[in-house]
Symmetry: C2
Subunit: 140 residues, 2 copies
Amino acid sequence: MRIGALAKAAGTTVRTVRYYEEIGLLPAADERSAGAHREYGEEDVERLRELLRLKGLLGLSLEELREVMVGEDARAARRRAWHETSDPDDRRRILSEGLEYTDSLLELVRRRRAELESFEAELRERRQRQAHLLRELARV
Amino acid sequence: MRIGALAKAAGTTVRTVRYYEEIGLLPAADERSAGAHREYGEEDVERLRELLRLKGLLGLSLEELREVMVGEDARAARRRAWHETSDPDDRRRILSEGLEYTDSLLELVRRRRAELESFEAELRERRQRQAHLLRELARV
DNA sequence: TTGCTCCTCACGTCACGTGAGGTGGC
DNA sequence: TTGCTCCTCACGTCACGTGAGGTGGC
């Protein structure tokens, strides 16, 4: 898959992909001879999608994203390690680290949702007042 | 209230307030002699707060905000008009316009919440899988 | 060969941050 | 008078957008 297909699949632009690579948010597609096309796989789509959602929905800066991505790197590493071991202790460790990471993301998302819901509640209240007054006027 | 107090009350910076004034998102505090201090009131805090929430929570650009703010201007105008009339027909019209505007904001907020909830659902699912696998391993 | 997508500079833009140098009010 | 906040340029920065000019693969 080339850069255009990746960008489209993840819902962003070619320039953004190149920029993220430039600042190290996406891994530089390995061993490209100068001027050669970049090649990507499914896991790059996954990673880019998650990046964009964390940025867009949670409003993280690319610097903050970089920190979260340390967690994403570890997640990818765990996935590989998972398939390379069958030792239950290893797998238990891998899983609990994964759980911890998922929980930290869930915490971020929940906090955001709380803000959004408080705004929505305020709007609903406003709506109520307006609708109530309209009914009052209708009775006159 | 001066610009520092306004910025603090709304949870932003002095520079941002000046920038929003520059591009016309906030009204230029009227009839300042060159170099004089800007003066603000409670309704400026209100407006700036709403702006920042629409921007931060919904991820609107300042250009998009400018369009929404046309609605906010109308809202402020309706508030003034409300107090200047007692004619039921006028008030009914004011109220239904207000309702319409509130509904459009609610629609924006709901759409965002839906995106956030779908992300949260995905994370919960991921968490479930991890927790399930952990229990499986514990039984071995 | 034609069309499309890709490549690398590199300058432009949006939404501010951050001094520089100076003035105003408790 | 001292301190704090304010003022206006104006350059810097972050996260890309947008050509310019050229090369690569179906």
